[in-house]
């Protein structure tokens, strides 16, 4: 995908409108990108979550204009405490998404712009924000893109990846301060696991308990709402090591029909590399491609097309196909 500005994308920029939405902690500021009049209407509003609303490399800005050129309406906005929005957001936590802000945005788009169908998209905490909106607005949400989310309620690797060869190597090759930092982290993680082991979560083994209650609740809402979802993961990310618990404990318990609505793509290497804009662009490209396919195959269709995988991942997983 060419991320340079084309005349079409410039035209979408000219059509953009600032919006100020009522939020739970004051006003939320955003930008609405209307669909290109010459494109077949998708009749879907895509909300791109990010911190701040531009996201890294201005990917949300460029994505909104690209989607609009293909007939989607788009909204990007600042959460409370970010950018121009009111309020204070305090410390961020991967298991505490900005659910109320997301719901406020959906309701505003519905009320002020007559939007009826939505696709929500985000990376990491922003993906969790997208997912968390399904519980209350599932009927209106066509699909969710949830890239590399945190699924545990605590920082650090899951039990199966607490000690790895790479970490041992890094530890011995690292400086003294690096070693001290690693040891402190290991102690904190061990404490977290002890807390989990002593929590009362009947019917769940320790492995499953590492999945946060919040994530489980939102995942179950996703399944009930019959909303499509793309989870994009990097095989070597700690986030995927935790997501494997979801694959083992949650995805195995859904029916084939429910499973067909959930796409899990696992790319080789890492994608949770916020310092690497090239990876972030590739992730954004894949998300946009998947969202665009949702327009072509609305959920009301009885058969969902097999999504075209990126070439480098074709060998690594089986695509979900909705049964006939």
């Amino acid at each position: 995908m060419d991320w340079n500005e084309t005349p079409d994308l410039l035209a979408r920029a000219w059509a953009e409108q600032p919006v100020i939405m009522p939020g739970p902690q004051g006003e939320l500021y955003g930008i609405f990108t209307p669909p290109a009049p010459e494109a077949p209407p998708a009749n879907i509003c895509v909300i791109l979550f990010g911190r701040n609303r531009w996201w890294c490399d201005r990917l949300s800005v460029k994505s909104a204009r690209w989607l609009a050129s293909r007939g989607f309406s788009c909204l990007r906005f600042d959460y409370h405490g970010f950018g121009e929005s009111a309020g204070d957001c305090g410390v961020l936590h991967g298991d505490r998404p900005f659910t109320k802000d997301a719901l406020a945005a959906i309701r505003y788009m519905r009320h002020e712009f007559s939007q009826k169908r939505f696709i929500l998209s985000g990376f990491c905490l922003d993906g969790r924000t997208a997912l968390s909106a399904v519980k209350e607005e599932g009927k209106a949400i066509e699909a969710v893109v949830c890239n590399s989310p945190e699924v545990t309620g605590y920082q650090g690797d899951v039990v199966t990846h607490m000690i790895t060869l790479e970490k041992i190597r890094s530890f011995f090759c690292g400086s003294t301060s690096f070693k001290k930092d690693m040891l402190l982290r290991a102690v904190r993680r061990f404490n977290n696991l002890v807390k989990l082991a002593t929590e009362s979560r009947p019917g769940e083994a320790l492995a499953e308990r590492q999945i946060s209650i919040n994530f489980k609740r939102d995942f179950q809402a996703l399944v009930r709402a019959k909303t499509r979802c793309l989870f994009l993961e990097g095989r070597d990310d700690s986030q995927y090591h935790a997501f494997q618990l979801v694959e083992q404990a949650l995805l195995t318990k859904v029916s084939d029909q429910q499973r067909a609505r959930i796409t899990v793509e696992v790319w080789p290497g890492k994608i949770h590399l916020l310092e690497n804009p090239e990876i972030l662009r590739r992730v954004a490209e894949r998300s946009l491609e998947w969202i665009d396919l949702c327009k072509q195959r609305p959920v009301s269709s009885s058969k969902m097309a097999i999504l075209d995988a990126a070439p480098e991942i074709k060998m690594h997983f089986v695509l979900s196909e909705e049964p006939e």
Partner: protein, 293 residues
Amino acid sequence: MPVLPELLSLNKRCTSGDELPLFFESSSHPLYGAFHPAETGPRTDRVIVFCHSLGIEHMVAQRMQVLGARMAAKAGFASFYYDSRGHGDSAGDAKKLTFKDLVDDACVAADYARKLSGASKIIWVGVRFGSLIAAAAIACRDDSAALALWEPLHHGSEYFKAAIRTTLFCKVAQGKRSNSSVDDMLLRLEAEGVLPVIGTYLYAALWNSAINLNLGQLLKHWSGETLIAQIQLRPVLSANNQRLQWEIQQRGAKTAVKLINQEPAWSMLPLVRPQWTNGLLLEATKEWLSELA
């Protein structure tokens, strides 16, 4: 370009109190901006214009600009902040951007701010690289009343070097060794035209046009009231800031200095914590504004 009454009636969805987010035109591109009229005891002869830094630094400092504009409006000063081409919500391709483009956008923003506010004079606030932009804009205009510099960069190359240093540091923090130095990476930027850094890219067009910029040189004719807000973990003014203060004072201008004992991670993505804010800087700027002649 529409003026304030037209803008207010155009779209009722985008006003908050009197605050007005909007788009305006510069070099055939829509730029995003937000106008804050003075709330009390309006000083209609001056309007504040914020010039932002670049890339991830813009993301880091954006909220402070917003809070700064709101603070100034409450203190009786109309203010305006905007995103340059290729930044924030504005249109434009960062790949082709030059320093001259940034200065042109600043001047268009200033003209627009004057039109919206009815002011005849500009108070510039330059944030990091934005200090160089504000200084260059001042040099080509005759309506500048005052200048506030928030952690100014004194040389154009500093932004690029800081972004590269942070990228290399991240690699080391991950336990990886880097085989390249900052100078190696700059050579790569010049050779390839683009260089990925934390969360964004550096482009040769801007590097080539900014490499020789010198804040002192750009301000060599400036003799207006100036605030130098140094935001560093340093108890005294840096050599560069001292020299700048002295040079401006030599021309008979009043300068104020504020030392903010903090060092935000300018080139790091503000993702695991909220965007940087500092109440002391807002207070110091407000105090300086209230003392302006």
